[in-house]
């Protein structure tokens, strides 16, 4: 398997504070599926920010798609970010845009033709069960529907790596299970998936690798789960 991401002795601290993350050593193989668990404030979101290139480590080495993240020129970062789909904890949907336009954003910034955008977005919204809400604004959708819009936006560009930060945090268990099955479907299509969640009970129902972020370090808890 090919490494999509690898961390070597990575540490993060904000200004002169203590290290929030330290000595992280792991890799994500192409087509793998991982859960990242940990209590609130354990540093899951910080780790996710490192992965979607919104933050740089204070020490150590991160390789992403075979490139050292520190050495990537700034003007090449957008192309790499397009290979990463992100489902943000707070969804980050743009309220004045329709469901369709929100999902279409990654394609628009990539310069995809309108006709192709219409076809792909419509198909994907049907697939996530939002075919009847194409023109609805996010504020008119339920929490679960908004979550699916955020997921659709994250996967519309067929990313090689999909990161989801607490995607089940705002929905009940039934919808949470449906969302996780959706991620599994995407994973079967070849996408590397990393899901950060504090809901360990939900995670145990799936047989994927589980990492626990505790005491600023990462522990593999797949076997003990």
């Amino acid at each position: 398997m090919t490494e999509v991401v690898s961390f070597r002795n990575v540490g993060v601290r904000y200004e002169s504070g203590p290290e929030i993350l330290r000595d992280l050593n792991f890799s994500l193989q192409r087509g793998s599926f991982h859960f990242l668990t940990g209590a609130s404030g354990a540093g899951k979101s910080t780790l996710m920010r490192l992965l979607y290139l919104a933050l740089r480590q204070t020490r150590g080495e991160i390789n992403i798609f075979g490139r050292d993240n520190i050495r990537i020129p700034r003007d090449e970062l957008p192309a790499i970010r397009r290979r990463i789909g992100v489902v943000f904890q707070d969804f980050r949907l743009i309220n004045h845009l329709s469901t369709f336009e929100n999902v279409a954003l990654p394609l628009r910034v990539a310069g995809v033709e309108d006709l192709q955008i219409r076809k792909n977005v419509t198909e994907l919204l049907e697939w996530v069960g939002l075919g009847d809400h194409i023109n609805a604004q996010p504020s008119r959708l339920s929490g679960g529907q908004q979550q699916r819009v955020a997921i659709a936006r994250a996967v519309i560009g067929r990313p090689a790596l999909l990161l989801a930060d607490e995607p089940t945090g705002n929905v009940d268990d039934r919808i949470a299970m449906r969302l996780l099955y959706l991620f599994e479907e995407l994973n079967k299509l070849g996408t590397t998936v990393l899901i950060a969640t504090h809901n360990r009970q939900l995670v145990r129902r799936f047989g994927h690798t589980q990492w626990l972020l505790e005491g600023a370090t990462l522990h593999d808890v797949t076997q003990s789960g």
Binding site: D75, P78, R81, V86, L97, V109, A110, G157
Partner: protein, 300 residues
């Protein structure tokens, strides 16, 4: 500037939080245009008033030297002096017309003070000769020759009034020009601040676009075009409002009998007024793109 040739991929105009920008721009542009029209009107008016004053001068021939003579002798002597002045000065270069004000006209001019009685004809009032000079007329030569023909005659050439009007007009025009420069600066600054404050609202959208892989230039252009459209619309509304208000004030003035001359603005002035919305739109575009690029540079 093409506003529709490259439509925004983000329908930002649907965002109600952006609507205060055109309002501010409209207000500032209205004030700016109003001041410019005021300056143009003043400049044009002063020019016309000066032209009217410069376009005429008069000679008074007083009867004081003839006070001891009988009315008939006095009138005959006065008429002879007037005729001599007219005959001599008519040959001077640069005089388009020279004629004496008729007794009827004089009586009509004095009627408000002296009444319509025959008494006017019996009073030793001066005779008035009106001269219409051509452009570049030599007033000094006229004054010199008049002194030789009739030393008692007085030349009233209005030059002191013209100089005073020119001084006052220059001061007011200078003050208005400074005001316009200040207003233009304030308009540009208000666009800059309104655009920048608008971006604090859009900060999350900018960050999102950045994280989903948009190039900095792409994001900056989207917001630049958005601000450009809003600013152009606001400036156009402000321009139309100020022109309508100016026209209304002029109409009120004409109805009230104010001395408002018919204004004819130069093509350069009209071009400047028409250019305002385009200049404002350009400033808004540049401000928006630079602001967004600055925000993006702070991100990884």
């Amino acid at each position: 500037m093409a506003f529709r040739s490259h439509p925004s991929h983000l329908p930002l105009e649907a965002d109600s939080s952006s609507r205060f920008l055109p309002c501010i721009v409209a207000l500032m542009v209205a004030l700016l245009t109003f001041s410019m029209v005021g300056l143009g009107a003043l400049h044009d008016s002063v020019g016309q008033w000066s032209g009217q004053i410069e376009g005429s001068l008069s000679i008074q021939v007083p009867p004081t030297e003839l006070a001891k003579r009988s009315p008939e002798q006095r009138e005959a002597a006065l008429q002879e002096t007037v005729n001599t002045i007219i005959d001599e000065l008519a040959n001077l270069p640069g005089i388009a017309r020279i004629e004496e004000l008729s007794p009827e006209t004089m009586a009509a001019l004095l009627e408000p003070w002296l009444g319509p009685d025959e008494v006017v004809s019996e009073l030793p009032i001066p005779r008035i000769i009106e001269i219409t000079p051509e452009t570049g007329f030599n007033f000094d030569a006229l004054e010199r020759q008049l002194g030789e023909i009739a030393p008692e005659a007085v030349l009233d050439d209005h030059r002191i009034w013209i100089e005073r009007i020119a001084d006052v007009a220059f001061s007011v025009e200078l003050a208005l020009t400074v005001l316009i420069v200040v207003l233009f600066g304030a308009t540009m600054l208000s666009i800059v601040f309104a655009t920048k404050s608008g971006f604090s609202i859009h900060h999350k959208i900018i960050e999102l676009l950045h994280l989903i892989g948009a190039q900095d230039d792409y994001i900056a252009r989207q917001f630049g075009r958005h601000s450009q459209r809003l600013a152009f619309f606001g400036a156009l509304v402000g321009l139309l409002i100020s022109l309508a208000v100016s026209a209304f004030i002029a109409w009120l003035g004409l109805r009230a009998g104010w001395p408002i001359p018919s204004l004819v603005f130069s093509p350069l002035f009209i071009a400047l007024i028409v250019a305002i919305p385009f200049i404002v739109a350009l400033v808004a575009y540049l401000t928006a793109t630079r602001t967004v690029l600055r925000v993006l540079r702070q991100m990884l």
